[in-house]
Amino acid sequence: MNVRLYLLQRGSAAVLLPLVLLHLGVIFYASRRGLSAADILARTRGSLFWGTFYAAFVIAAATHAAIGVRVIAAEWTGLRGLALEVGMWSFGLLLAALGLIAVAAVVLA
């Protein structure tokens, strides 16, 4: 992991910190009487706050997870060079794309 990736990893961690704590709070609040689509969508649909919150969450999590998995792959499987780069970018972009689609699904649809 080079310095740029290290800083991105720690920077994304710092961004994720308050987001995860709020997310945990929402999980506990939402699961108080079972999950329902109506409850979730009533909270998220058309909400600028939740749209921005979850979009930032997705980008930070995709960045953090892709770099983290890259480090583990390099250490535990010995993956190096181009394969490692392609793996990290593919996983990060896949997470970002799926995540933003999910955000659009609960905020815009």
């Binding site: 994720l16 945990l24 506990f28 689509a37 969508l41 998995v69 997470l95 799926l98 689609i101 999910a102």
Partner: protein, 125 residues
């Protein structure tokens, strides 16, 4: 030095650092992170069901009421909590001068994450 001596005598797998509590903290952080990274695509795909309408999304959410799914969710709550608490410790260790109590912080993170996971299960059950 003792670690190095053991490492030379018995090979890396048997060396002392692997029995250290903070080595365990690093392993827990890594494994919880991997579990979360594996879960994220599934989480996003499930939420994207809302694109197919409220009924499709609700059908999936009813499936999550299954006790086995609740136990898996409890595991995810543990992973997320222990990863974020362990992450706070890493950010503090790296940005402040070294301070005592690292192992206590790690034990506190494990305990808090376990309690949160149990609390989740009790509430969701």
């Amino acid at each position: 030095m003792r670690d190095l001596w053991e490492w030379q005598r018995r090979g890396p797998r048997a060396s002392g650092h692997r029995r250290d509590a903070l080595w365990l903290a690093a392993l827990v952080h890594r494994l919880s992170g991997l579990a979360l990274a594996a879960f994220l695509p599934l989480h996003f795909l499930a939420l994207a069901l809302a694109l197919k309408g409220e009924a499709a999304f609700d059908g999936f959410l009813r499936w999550t009421a299954n006790p086995l799914v609740k136990i898996a969710e409890m595991g995810l709550i543990f992973c997320l909590s222990v990863h974020v608490l362990g992450g706070i410790r890493i950010l503090l260790v790296e940005s402040l001068p070294w301070f005592q109590g690292q192992k206590q912080l790690m034990a506190g993170a494990l305990l808090t994450a376990s309690l949160l996971a149990l609390l989740f299960l009790v509430r969701a059950a």
